[in-house]
Structures are given as C-alpha cells and as structure tokens.
C-alpha cells in the first residue's frame, strides 16, 4: 500500500463484496428454488429455503423429471464422468508422447507434424459440425463412449504445454540417462513423467472442466436417452410442452450438473490457476 487511505480500502472491500454477491446470486436463487415444491415456485419468488430439498434432489437423481421423459440424472452424470475422465486421460496421454517425440528426437517431417498439430487449434468442433458428424456416423460411433471422447482428445494446447515444459528440463538429465545406458522409453518413464507431475495435475483440472462441460458434441452424437450427458440433459428439461414447468427440479438438476467441476476448482484451486495460466502460453 502506497499511502494510507482507509476510505479507499473500505470502498475496495465494498465493491468486492457486491461483485462477489452478484456472482454468487444465481447459485443462491437456484439452491433456494430447488428446495421448494413445484407449486411454490410456479408463480412466485421464494426468498428462503423450503423443506423439499432432499426430495427434489432424490427425485431428479433417481427417477428424473417425468414431464421431460423421466431420465434419471444419476446415469447422465455417470456418462458425463466417463466422458470427462476419458478426455482427461486420452488428451494427456497422446499429447505427452507427441511432445516427447517432437522435443527429444530429430527426424524427417518433424516440423510438418508440429504444424499438423497446430492446425487443430484453428478447427474447433463448432466450425466443422456436419462433416465431423458424418465421419462419426460412418465409423459407427454414434451413441458410444468412444464417439463421445475420441474425436475430442487431439489437442494442440496440451501438446504445446508439455513441449514448453520439456524444453525447460535440463539437458544434463537426458545426457546422464544416455550415459547410464537408458533408452528413450526408459528416460521418459523414469525421469520425464515423474517431473511432469505438477503439469499433469494442472492440465487434468482444466481438461476435466472442459470434458464435463461439453455441450455441442454430445448433442450431435447422442440420440439415445441413455447416452445423454448431464449438461445437455438440462436443456431437454427446459422445453417441455403442455406441462407445468417444474423449475424446482430443473434448478436441482442445474446444481447437480455444475457441482463436480465447481468442487474440483475449489478443492484444487492452485492446480486450476496454474493450468489456466499455462495452457494459454
């Protein structure tokens, strides 16, 4: 602090508290709504928690919202979990070995491979929806976990992150390994992989959020209700024809859908910040 201006400090706290409250407000409203019976939230606003909290969450998790086809959220969350973990493991595995190849070997076509990987940055799913969908159909991957994860695990950012990190690893380590007679695979497994632990942890947090929050991709390739992921399941709850909008259940579902990634961020805050900052380098 350069000079002592108490009123400015109070103002800063006030703005931060108001800002924080505005940010948290939607969650408060969602939590309160999810604790009431449908009749109480249909045409009025409830200021404080009601008594139906547990009932609503059990209903949503086990039986689902009947007016929206009654798919239990529990199985959707399991699908989301499988998809998110599949993406985390897949992306990290294939990008760490390609970064290893690019950094620790000299071979013809090295730069070409690097640029091919770079190209993926320029081609997000959103811009090639239809042809990618067609590929997945032709490969028979509709409504499968492979279809949900495999096309999303090619990643330039993760490869770049590991490349960047490998470049900072002292050459002496590779030299020593070579002198001691260790081959590249042994060097990778016993030296490079343990050194990359913190990077892998940081990246896992970011990729878990990325995988869990996927929307367009599952929307395209899952047509069977059993394969729905939770984030897109919410959307199906919104548009219910000729029925009472059960906002209490929809809000319970929304809370459940955001719970796992939010908990991951809160619990692994340091890795999250590291991952967020480093993947942008």
């Amino acid at each position: 602090m350069i000079e002592n201006r108490p009123y400015l400090t109070y103002l800063s706290h006030a703005i931060l508290i108001i800002g924080g409250l505005i940010i948290i407000f939607p969650i408060y409203v969602a939590l309160v709504t999810s604790s009431h019976v449908t009749e109480d939230v249909i045409s009025s606003v409830q200021p404080w928690f009601g008594g139906a909290l547990i009932d609503n969450y059990v209903t949503v998790l086990v039986t689902g919202k009947m007016s929206a086809g009654g798919n239990p959220l529990g199985s959707m969350m399991l699908n989301s979990l499988i998809m998110a973990v599949g993406i985390v493991v897949g992306k990290i595995s294939i990008s760490i070995i390609s970064a290893f190849a690019i950094v620790y070997f000299r071979f013809p076509g090295r730069m070409f491979c690097f640029w091919i990987i770079f190209m993926t940055l320029m081609l997000p799913v959103e811009v090639r929806i239809l042809p990618t969908y067609k590929v997945v159909v032709d490969l028979g991957l509709l409504n499968s976990y492979t279809g949900l994860t495999l096309p999303l695990i090619a990643s330039a950012t993760a490869t770049f992150l590991f490349r960047q990190f490998f470049l900072t690893v002292p050459d002496e380590l590779a030299e020593a390994a070579r002198v001691d007679g260790a081959g590249p695979i042994r060097f990778f497994l016993t030296i490079l992989l343990p050194l990359s632990r913190t990077n892998i942890a940081a990246l896992s947090v970011i990729l878990f959020i990325y995988g869990w929050n996927q929307y367009l991709w599952p929307l395209l390739i899952t047509t069977e209700p059993e394969m729905t992921t939770v984030v897109m399941g919410i959307q199906r709850m919104l548009f219910v024809a000729d029925a009472v909008p059960e906002w209490n259940l929809t809000m319970a579902a929304a809370i459940l859908a955001m719970l796992p990634p939010v908990v991951v961020v809160l619990v692994m805050q340091r890795q999250f910040v590291k991952g967020l900052v480093e993947t942008e380098k």
Binding site: G19, I27, V127, R128, P131, V135, A154, Y215, L216, L276
Partner: protein, 293 residues
C-alpha cells in the same frame, strides 16, 4: 529453442506421434477438407445428386440478408459480452489488488463460475429472468417494466449477453489480477511521490501497462463469444425470438442439422474457419502472452 541432447531412433518418434496425428487426420483435417469441398457443391436434400458450383454458395450467403443479419448479431453479441465481462473483471481485479485482508477469499468467490458450463449458466439466468416467476423479471415488473425475452429480441440478447459475461468474468479476473501484480511497485511508488493520486496512477501507469493483458483477453473473449457460447444460445433462446440471437455458430448448426442445407452450412463453416484462423494467428503472432502469476 531446441534440445542439444536428443535420442536416435528411426521409428520411435513416428510411433509416438501416430495417435495424435491419426485423430487429427480423421476428426479434424478430413472433415475440414470435406467442409471445404461441400461448400462448393449444391446438393439436393436427398443427397441423390450434387453439382460443383465453385463459389456460388458463398455468393448466395453474402447476398442472404439473414446471414448478414446473423453476422451483425454476432458482432453485437461478442462485443457486448467482451465489454461487460472485461470491464467488470478489471474493476474487481483492481480492487482485489488493493486489499490485503481477505484477498484469497475474494479470489475463491470470483473464480468458481469458470467451472460452470455455458449452457448451465444460461439456464440459471434464464430462470431469474423468466417472466412468470423469475426474481429479476418480477422486480422489473414491480418497477414498471414488463420483461419478456420470449417475445422481445433485444431483451433476449441482453439475457444471453449477461449469462455469457457472468461465466467469463472469472477468467478475465484471474488474468487481470496476474497482470496487475506483475507491475513493478517502484513505478507506482515513484508516481505517488510525485503527487499522483490513485485515480491518476491507474490511468497513466497501470492501465497502459496492462494493455498487453487486455488485448490478449479481448481476443480470448471474442473467441469465447463466437464459439463457446453455443450452449447458452441453444439452451436459452434457440436463436430466437425471430432470429434475434442467431449467432453464426448457431446458424451453422441450425442450417446444416435442422435445415439440411449442406452446401450453405459448409460455406458458413469455411467462413468460420477463416475467422478462427485469423484470430489464432493474431493470438500467436502479435500477442505478448507471458503472464506471471
């Protein structure tokens, strides 16, 4: 930067690269080339015949008032989202940089919305603005304003902008705070000794030094508003009412998947690819992306 020490093996590097390259080829490059090819075809809806028409699809697209309107809507949407989330994040970051007590707590309170899926963020705000029972809509009615985003296109736009900006504040806050903390304290102290107050110091020293961070965040936010907000639009407004929130990415999906206009959708895809390509080049070529945290 290159490694001095490398391994020699004629086939191992290729083997290591195979999974990444195979997936890239099958799920990225091949579909992209297909989009490029289809954008020059006109196909009948049953896929029985197609004709190669060079750039006719593009000519048609740029003559289509709906497409031009969608471009305008995308511009309004992304500029408003970026402006709203960048300005609120900057304000909060400057305040968080000042306070000592409770800084960690504030950071935690502001960071978590990053983890909320865009579609879920959209649903939360949709409920609060729901005309029959949303707290904000009812407050507005109490104040004498009838809110109904289902009928009013402008209000629908406001709703999706707020939802999109809300989710992005966390990200911008984090990078602004990192940027603020990397500004040398000696500069601020020197200015204070010369008699500059907090406001003047901010505008003449801090803000200019934050330019690289701000510019970087601007690009990231535009990319976010262009592509990652599909979930918000799809869940909240489905591009409506009457196409008032029909952003380009949503239009590609709606035209290709629901409207089955393959050539037109592919041409739109190609235009989007050019936009992402340009933004990626800007991001990598011209931006100082070193952030200390």
């Amino acid at each position: 930067m290159e490694k001095r020490v490398t391994f020699k093996n004629p086939w191992l590097p290729y083997l290591l690269l195979t999974p990444q390259l195979a997936i890239t080829a099958v799920f990225f490059l091949w579909p992209a080339s297909q989009a490029l090819f289809q954008s020059m075809l006109i196909e009948d809806p049953f896929g029985l015949s197609s004709e190669f028409v060079w750039f006719e699809n593009f000519d048609e697209l740029f003559a289509d008032p709906l497409y031009l309107r969608s471009m305008g809507i995308t511009a309004v949407f992304s500029i408003s989202t970026a402006a709203l989330s960048l300005s609120s994040a900057l304000l909060l970051a400057v305040m968080a940089d000042r306070v000592i007590k409770g800084a960690a707590f504030y950071k935690l309170a502001l960071l978590w919305p990053y983890a909320v899926a865009p579609a879920v963020a959209g649903v939360l705000w949709l409920f609060m603005f729901s005309p029959a029972n949303g707290i904000i809509a009812l407050t507005l009615r109490y104040l004498g304003y009838e809110w109904n985003h289902v009928l009013n296109g402008g209000e629908a736009m406001v709703l999706v902008v707020i939802a999109a900006a809300w989710k992005q504040i966390a990200y911008n806050f984090l990078f602004f705070l990192a940027g603020l903390q990397s500004i040398p304290k000696s500069l601020i102290e020197a200015a204070a000794i010369d008699g500059a107050g907090p406001g003047k110091r901010f505008w003449t020293i801090v803000f200019p030094l934050l330019t690289p961070t701000s510019f970087f965040l601007l690009v990231v936010n535009v990319v976010y508003a262009f592509f990652d907000t599909f979930g918000i639009i799809h869940a909240v407004t489905s591009g409506g009412p009457a196409g008032a929130t029909n952003i380009l990415v949503y239009k590609v999906y709606a035209d290709g998947f629901i409207g089955l206009d393959l050539g037109g959708s592919a041409a739109q895809s190609v235009i989007l690819m050019i936009i992402v390509g340009a933004l990626t080049v800007v991001q990598f070529r011209y931006l100082e992306r070193r952030v200390q945290y």
